[in-house]
Amino acid sequence: MKAIIVKELKLMIKEKGNIFFLLIMPMLFMLMFGSLFNKGNDLSVEIHYVDQDHTALSQTFLKQLKKTDGIHLKNESSADLSSLINKIKKGQLASMLVINKGFEEAIKEGRQAQVKLYRDPAASSEVSAIEAVLKNIANGYREAKLAKSLTALGENKEQAVKTLTPPIQIQNINTTGEHIDYISQVVPGMTVMFIFYIMISMTKRFFKEKESGLLSRIQSTTMKPLPYLVGMWVPFVIAVIVQSIILLGFGHFVYHLKLGHLSALSMLIIGLSLCGTGVGLALSVLVRGENQGMAITQLIALAGAMVGGLWMPSYLLPFFIQNIGYFTPQYWALRGLQDIIVHGADVGDIWRSLAVLAAFGFAGLFVAVLRFPRFLKSATH
């Protein structure tokens, strides 16, 4: 068996197509999907502003804006205001904040200071965020003004704070450790999808072995059918483990994907490789030719990816598709990976995913062992 394993590993290394199909292609997919959709996760908003006042208070106001998470300021004070407004009209700029001259003076005199927000109604989602931030800051100024008035009326500082405390407090509680961003969907999704493409390589190898007469010749040696089958299988298990490590590692280093508990991740990778190669082994000895194997692999990999939620989160799929997805190994593989990566799950938390993947893998092995004598017979005749 060791001779078969070593030989297959040597052949695998020499087959450049494997590296492209199992590693380069999924990485390209990750890069493509990552660059297309990763911007959707960037919630930062850029505020273009013109400071006509140029005073200490106008600068303080801008500093307060800058302190807000996700807000970037861009000074346009040197540009012509009318040309900036034209940009908004043409849709080249979503909004423009203008701090009018006399801003500091108005505040000091207790009058209402003027800040103008020019806006493109078509960019309402972006402008709404800016509007909310500005209102928040304005509220802060109002509270400060109220506190000052209350103190002037005789309340001490503590009493003034108590008076101004809102009667309702809204608390945000995260139910999970991290949020699911697009990368946590794309990287595990593409990893799981391309792992199932190992079935094409497996079918090709088995048929090459059969059609070249090598399998027949091997039967004239002391090699027994079962060790041969296992010997052909193990290198593919190793290949998928390496493939998973490289693809998830790629996600980690390029997209800063968190990998969670490594023990759980290792177990899931092993389960996934057993599953993909177990099904691949069954397919290799069941199909009548390479082309049939390739077609069935496409069906398993693509249909499984679609209904298993590898392309888009399962909860976004129609209800009946979600139900079908529960019967695919891809769904359980992705769920396990996301539980580890996103929710920080440990080995005990992913037992259901592990059990389903192992069940698929061993079912494939069982079918392959049953069917192999027939495959062997067709090879020797």
Binding site: A3, V6, L11, S212, S216
Partner: protein, 310 residues
């Protein structure tokens, strides 16, 4: 083991593939240390017989005895003593010659330093020591055939089964392989060589079985078969000999090229009469010779048909 003892004995071998009866009671025996040729056209049942001898497929009926033991269910026993060279070049073309030899050596149960020593010896035998680390796909057809043969030698088999091992190679490479086979035979390895080329059997084998339609039609030492089934004849080519010569004891006279072929059971007598006639009738004799019986004649005689490719 005594030279005359049968190292391999095949009796009543039957095998059908669907409705096609590939072997229909094949029987022959091979003496230890001999070079045995299994001659027959394509589809005669040679490869099926070879695969049964090497344990690759199981017969529907009959028996194979190797070294006095029934090989049924004795795959390891067969693999230990028999080396098999299939008709096709069955090598891993992307791997080096060394890696291919290493792989097959391990499958035959040879390990460690012994395997490394055997690989070096086989590379020497095949003349490929210098190319040991080159990928097989870079080899010529002849070189591939030699490594294909070499892969069956690593466990020092007592019997080497070769199924048409020279298909598609040039005469020079064929001679090189013949030399390897003769060397192995001289070292005591029993050769079982299947082919549909008469000249290969004549060049390599001292004993022959003729197989056609899944049945062995004749078997014996080459000389005996030629004597028994070969057509004896005198060929004469002479100026003035325009018509078929009328000579007693001749069974048939046929025109062959510029001369005449006279088939007879008494070639010496016929030649004597022809020479007397030539002197008397002043024929200008250009060529007169006893024609050596050929295996082609034997095949024709025992099967009733000429050796065909298909």
């Amino acid at each position: 083991m005594h030279q005359e003892e049968a190292i391999l004995k095949v009796t009543g071998l039957k095998k059908a593939f669907g409705k096609k009866q590939a072997l229909d009671g094949v029987a022959f025996s091979v003496k230890s240390g001999s070079s045995f040729g299994l001659l027959g056209p394509n589809g005669a049942g040679k490869s099926t017989t070879m695969k049964i001898l090497t344990g690759i497929i199981k017969p529907d009926g009959g028996r194979v005895d190797l070294l006095g033991r029934d090989v049924s269910g004795q795959k390891d026993w067969v693999a230990k003593y028999v080396g098999y060279v299939p008709q096709d070049i069955t090598l891993y073309e992307e791997l080096s010659a060394y890696d291919n030899l290493l792989f097959f050596g391990q499958l035959y149960g040879v390990k460690g330093p012994e395997l490394r020593r055997r690989i070096a010896e086989v590379l020497e035998q095949t003349g490929l020591t210098e190319r040991a680390n080159d990928a097989v796909k870079t080899f010529s057809g002849g070189m591939k055939r030699r490594i294909n043969l070499g892969c069956a030698l690593l466990h020092r088999p007592k019997v080497l089964v070769l199924d048409e091992p020279t298909v598609g190679i040039d005469p020079q490479s064929r001679n090189r392989i013949f030399e390897m086979i003769r060397d192995l035979n001289r070292q005591g390895v029993t050769i079982i060589y299947s082919t549909h080329y008469l000249e290969e059997v004549e060049a390599l084998c001292d004993e022959v079985a003729i197989i056609d339609h899944g049945v062995v039609k004749a078997q014996g030492p080459l000389g005996v078969l030629l004597e028994k089934h070969g057509r004896k004849a005198i060929y004469i080519e002479a100026g003035g000999l325009n018509d078929a010569p009328d000579v007693p004891n001749v069974s048939r006279v046929t025109k062959e090229g510029a001369g005449w072929l006279l088939e007879t059971e008494h070639p010496a007598v016929v030649m004597h009469v022809l020479l007397q006639k030539a002197a008397a009738r002043r024929w200008d004799v250009k060529q007169i010779e006893i024609v050596r019986p050929s295996l082609e004649n034997v095949f024709l005689s025992v099967t009733g048909t000429a050796l065909r490719d298909e």
